[in-house]
């Protein structure tokens, strides 16, 4: 599973990345977490409000830091 956290590098984006990494560690999920901060790549994914989280190319949430419960639900889905 490939999880991408999209955001240029503001505090909220860092918070989102941190939470995703924590949830992956807590669940012991087999997933790679990558931070995408290139604007062109972000735009190409159809995201224009950051931070956003995408799992295997599918955008799960935009414009907010998701809660841990939400992240866990996406990973387990």
């Amino acid at each position: 599973m490939e999880i991408k956290v999209l955001g240029p590098g503001c505090p909220k984006c860092h918070e989102a990345e941190k939470r995703v990494r924590e949830v992956v560690a807590e669940l012991g999920a087999d997933a790679t977490v990558a931070k995408v901060s290139d604007f062109q790549e972000i735009a190409r994914m159809g995201v224009f409000s950051t931070p956003a989280v995408a799992i295997d190319g599918e955008v799960k949430c935009v414009g907010k830091v998701p809660s841990k419960a939400e992240i866990a639900a996406w990973i387990n889905a």
């Binding site: 240029p8 604007f39 994914m45 159809g46 224009f48 409000s49 955008v59």
Partner: protein, 375 residues
Amino acid sequence: MNDLRELRIDSMGGGMPGPGATPAPPAPDKGAGEAGQAGMARILALGIAALALWIAVYTHLEAWADAATYGLLGLERGSAFAAALAFFLYDGPKVLLLLTLVVFGVGIIRSFFTAARARRLLAGRGEAVGNVLAALLGIVTPFCSCSAVPLFVGFVTAGVPLGVTFSFLVSAPMVNEVALVLLYGLMGWKVAGLYLLTGLLVAMVSGWVIGRLKMEGHLEEWVRLIHAGQDQPEVEPGWPGRVRAGLEAVRDIVGRTWPWVLAGIAVGAGIHGYVPEGFMASIMGRDAWWSVLAAVALGVPMYSNAAGIIPVVHALLEKGAALGTVLAFMMSVIALSLPETIILRKVLKPRLLFTFVGVVSLGILLVGYLFNLIL
């Protein structure tokens, strides 16, 4: 039930390290996970109770601050230190209380608006109407300045006119709930109203002017070539979700800005107590014609949030600075900043970037002179 527990942990997790004097009004509404009539009634009852408590505390603050300064600590009335302390003890909790209530309310309002919805509303809209609508949407759409570039690309590729996009981009950071609460709490509703109206006006007009200049050719190539993906399907959060969004906004915004607010008020309190009356009149008064220009030149590259800058500005105003000068300074600090300009360079070629900064600065400058002239 499990869902409810998680929600509770999540909402409490980061914690709001606010001072004891801030009984966050919406705090008891944690049971938002339950839908249906009973859940709704509970949310409502807790909300009303919290609001009553909020009002009770808010209306007694001044008396308490006075009692603490002159009664409890036995300071002498009229001394500079006592004046500064009483000011801080009153204004600090007052502004934090106002901020908590308003951020909660705005959090709920914002759950009705998303950047995607704003984009749909603005796409293909004609210019003048589009500029007005964009500036208004800028107030209620959740926006963080680091989203400026993705948002810009998203708007332009969806067919939102360039000038309309700029109206949104100016209004979103400038006219925000934190600024309005602080202005209302420290300087009254007239100043807050003036800021709201002139802020919107600057956003509408500068966007419209940029649109007239037909500078679409000055976007970076990749913006024009890119095929932005489709909108994500949106889920309507429902009322429990909206209340939760309000609580999250409180935790996020109040939790992040309270040290700034208190620091700003402390500086303001110092100026209130120690700087003599009328001191600022000579350098920031309305007779100093260059002061608006200097205020904007200083404010444009500066990067601060409303929370840090407004209490300072309030104290300057109190000591004789002219309202127009102060408004212009505040707007230029909040609306434009060096970091944002650098980040926008990724999508705007230099000429368009300079035009954007220039037109917005000019608008702010005019607002400053206008108020110094008529007030």
